[in-house]
C-alpha cells in the first residue's frame, strides 16, 4: 500500500482551490467532475508534485455527520491536519499579509514551533517547523 492522497473536508471547493493555491501556494493536480457540483479536486506541493496529493473533499456539503465533525473540531480550535514549513514565523508573516486569520500565533513547543490558521473552508490548519 502507498500513501498517495490525504483528504481535507471543505465547505466550498471553488473557495478551497483559491485558498490552497493562491494563499498557501499548492498547485492543482487533478480536477475531475464527479456530479453537478462535486469534483475530484487535488492539490500538491509545488516543489514535490509527484508527492502526496491533498484531496479537497466536499464531504461537509454532502454528508451531515462530516459537517458536524468538522464544526466540532473547528469550534475546539483543533487543527484538521498540518503542513510542514521551513520557518513558521516567516510563513505566519507572509500569510498574515494575505489576510489569513490565525488562532494560534507562532509558539515553540518542545522540538517544534507551531501556528494555527483558519483555511476559510471550515478547518483549522497547523503549520509546523522542526527545531
Amino acid at each position: 500500500m502507498k500513501v498517495k492522497i490525504v483528504s481535507i473536508p471543505v465547505l466550498d471547493q471553488d473557495n478551497a482551490l483559491d485558498f490552497y493555491t493562491n494563499k498557501l501556494g499548492f498547485v492543482k493536480k487533478h480536477d475531475v467532475p464527479l456530479s453537478e457540483k462535486n469534483r475530484w479536486l487535488t492539490v500538491v506541493d509545488k516543489e514535490e508534485q509527484e508527492g502526496t496529493e491533498v484531496l479537497l473533499e466536499p464531504s461537509p456539503e454532502n454528508f451531515e455527520p462530516s459537517r458536524t465533525y468538522q464544526k466540532a473540531l473547528f469550534d475546539a480550535g483543533i487543527p484538521y491536519t498540518q503542513f510542514n514549513v521551513d520557518d513558521v514565523q516567516k510563513e505566519y508573516d507572509r500569510l498574515l499579509k494575505l489576510g489569513v486569520v490565525f488562532s494560534v500565533k507562532p509558539t515553540a513547543m518542545g522540538t517544534v514551533k507551531i501556528a494555527v490558521f483558519n483555511d476559510t473552508c471550515g478547518n483549522n490548519i497547523q503549520i509546523v517547523e522542526m527545531l
Partner: protein
C-alpha cells in the same frame, strides 16, 4: 482560550519542561542539518554536548522519535532528492548528500523512496 490552546499548554508542561535537554537535542539536530554531508558519528555528537553516547541517543529518540542515525539518513535522502530534481548525476548526488558509495546509496534510496535514484530523476524531469 480554545480547547486546543489549553491542550498545547498542558502538553508543554508535561513533555517539554526540561529546557536543558531540549537545548541539547535541538543543537544536535541543527548540527546534523549543517554537516549531514560530512562524516558524522555518535561519538562526535556526544562529545560536542559533553554527554555520553547512550544518553544522547536516548534523549534524541525521546524528543524526535528517531535515533540521530535515522534522522541523518532522512536528511541525506532529502538532500539527494533535491540534487536529483536539479538534474545532478547519480554519483555526484551520492557524495553531495554524504553517502559513501553510489551502490549503497542506490540500494538505500530504493528501499526508502520506493524507486531507484535514476527512476526518481526521470519522473521528476517528466513532471516539470
Amino acid at each position: 482560550m480554545s480547547f486546543y490552546q489549553t491542550e498545547i499548554n498542558r502538553i508543554k508542561d508535561i513533555c517539554y519542561s526540561n529546557d536543558q535537554q531540549l537545548a541539547t537535542v535541538i543543537a544536535i539536530r541543527n548540527f546534523i542539518d549543517q554537516h549531514f554531508d560530512g562524516e558524522l558519528n555518535l561519538d562526535l555528537l556526544a562529545h560536542m554536548r559533553f554527554t555520553s553516547r547512550f544518553h544522547l541517543l536516548r534523549l534524541f529518540k525521546k524528543y524526535y522519535g528517531l535515533t540521530p542515525k535515522q534522522y541523518l539518513t532522512i536528511k541525506r535522502l532529502e538532500a539527494a532528492k533535491k540534487c536529483l530534481r536539479e538534474g545532478m548525476p547519480i554519483a555526484d548526488t551520492c557524495y553531495r548528500a554524504g553517502f559513501d558509495t553510489p551502490s549503497s546509496f542506490s540500494t538505500l534510496f530504493k528501499s526508502k523512496i520506493g524507486v531507484s535514484p535514476i527512476e526518481f530523476q526521470k519522473r521528476a524531469t517528466f513532471a516539470k
